[in-house]
Subunit: 314 residues, 2 copies
């Protein structure tokens, strides 16, 4: 249990629901809740490039400037490590990531499609040399063949990366499929001293189940968001996993999340931020498709699910 | 796959959210959707005793009079079997259940706590002699010792019952616990030629995951409700299971459920009927308690979760 790392990505995945416009009080209380709950890592958001995204259209957690983070956590965050995500093709990691010794960040997570693995490896080596822990989160692997996945895993296992993530981008995996892939990831990663992680989505109400199933296959980095806050159907809920792990004897606590939900997440819902299981997300998940069409459908407040079925098939 | 029976209990478990006041059009369209989806059994509601419940306070599916059922399904339901649930202590099965040859019903499901097993066995033999298929759904086994469960299973395996159900009454089981118990149920039931079933609740977003996990341990009767409609956190959603089983090669269809949700379930939600994952249900589930306090809390539109945590502990 001690080796398990609860990894909170509420700001990063949740930011996709509100363009990263979180109040400072939200971020500060989340940080405090994570520290109290025994979360090992907190992701502050994306380190996105301002050449790619207009900063007027997004809140500051899309860019995660060093000053913005320090404004929340001070100079010396304790008992918790901090990360940002750098999305290959949407980040300028050579320009925008400063050396670790000048930063309160501990980890850079590189998100990439398997086709972009070479650039992901370059980013890993760059960030590693700057002094950071690194992960690579390979996206949309439900669309990759086992051969492509094997090739990517071999390259990653030879790199400096610390953690290799299985990402169920579309929420399409059943527990046995997630476990099968996690076995493959672990088999490549463990002999090289690397760890493996799981980032699950809830399109089929399986984010939590897939997370605990992947634990059995060796996943030690376990991504959660508070109340499942995240794009579309959302993520593995922090309060579910913390409750489970507490019962398994891990030194962590669920109550800080419950307090945080009461204080902040209910307010988000009242403001009209929408996420969680819904029929359109179920359908894109089952059909192994990106949730974008479902998000659009729900944003337009449409409810003609049978039309949506036809649109997906067409 | 052919041996798997999708069992729809939308009216029965869903009736607990609205005191069984379903419109005839809802019930008729649900019946049609179930036939089209390949559902094996549809539960029409409870066969409750009018000595125990005031019929002015409940819709007709609390009592499921023969005439009420025939009004929906006609005299000869085809391609689907029909059941009612008889709750030990709340039913007068000797008075209120007529011989099978005079009824459109095919199955009586007996719900009982393990302490009431003797009366459950009496009900089974009575209904069996009347010509019905029977199940016993042992409730709240998360509060029973393994020895008590073993004793109950032995008695049931010696009886005339056709199906023995594992019921996760409080939504407290994790997949490995559900599978472990299902193994125990199957070990008792299979040598006597009986089948086993799973009835899961969604307090921890595990109803679907626990259902497919129990399939691996031999469960062939799989309870669902459309969109998870049911008391508290609700049930294993029919659209989730049907989509999964279709992908596994079973001859069934998800689309009739999607249509039904669009036409009827969204309207229920608009009327203010509430069910599904929420923090208070999570907390009762994790603490292995009946959801009644959580239902009350949510009905009162309270959101002070931390107070609720204290109330549960007290």
């Amino acid at each position: 249990m001690d080796g398990l790392q609860i990894f909170d990505c509420t700001l990063r995945d949740g930011g996709l629901t509100n363009n990263f416009f979180f109040e400072d009080s939200f971020v500060r209380d989340l940080y405090q809740a994570n520290v109290e709950a025994g979360v090992a890592y907190m992701e502050m958001g994306y380190r996105a490039s301002r050449d790619v995204f207009d900063e007027n259209e997004f809140g500051k957690w899309k860019f995660c400037d060093e000053e913005a983070i320090r404004h929340i956590v001070g100079d010396h965050p304790e008992n918790i490590k901090l990360s940002v995500m750098a999305d290959i093709g949407r980040t300028d990691y050579r320009r925008d990531i400063i050396p670790k010794k000048e930063s309160v960040l501990d980890m850079i997570r590189i998100a990439a499609y398997s086709r972009d693995i070479e650039e992901a490896l370059d980013a890993v080596e760059h960030c590693h040399c700057l002094g950071y822990e690194t992960t690579v989160n390979i996206m949309a692997v439900s669309n990759d063949t086992e051969e492509i996945i094997a090739e990517v895993l071999e390259k990653l296992s030879e790199s400096s990366v610390d953690v290799i993530y299985l990402v169920d981008s579309f929420g399409s995996f059943y527990p046995n499929q997630a476990a099968h892939l996690m076995d493959q990831y672990a088999k490549a990663a463990f002999p090289k001293g690397k760890q493996v992680g799981i980032h699950a989505h809830n399109n089929q109400q399986l984010a939590f189940a897939n997370t605990i199933e992947c634990m059995k296959s060796g996943a030690s980095f376990l991504d959660v968001t508070v109340n499942g806050l995240g794009r579309g159907a959302g993520n593995c809920a922090a309060e579910l996993l913390a409750g489970y792990l507490t019962g398994q004897g891990k030194d962590c606590s669920q109550e800080p999340f419950i307090k945080f939900i009461e204080k902040h997440v209910l307010a988000l819902k009242k403001e009209g931020v929408v996420w969680g299981y819904d029929i359109p997300y179920l359908l894109t998940g089952q059909k192994n498709k990106h949730p974008s069409k479902a998000i659009e459908f729900i944003k337009e407040q449409r409810t003609q699910y049978t039309d949506f079925l036809r649109e997906l098939a067409g």
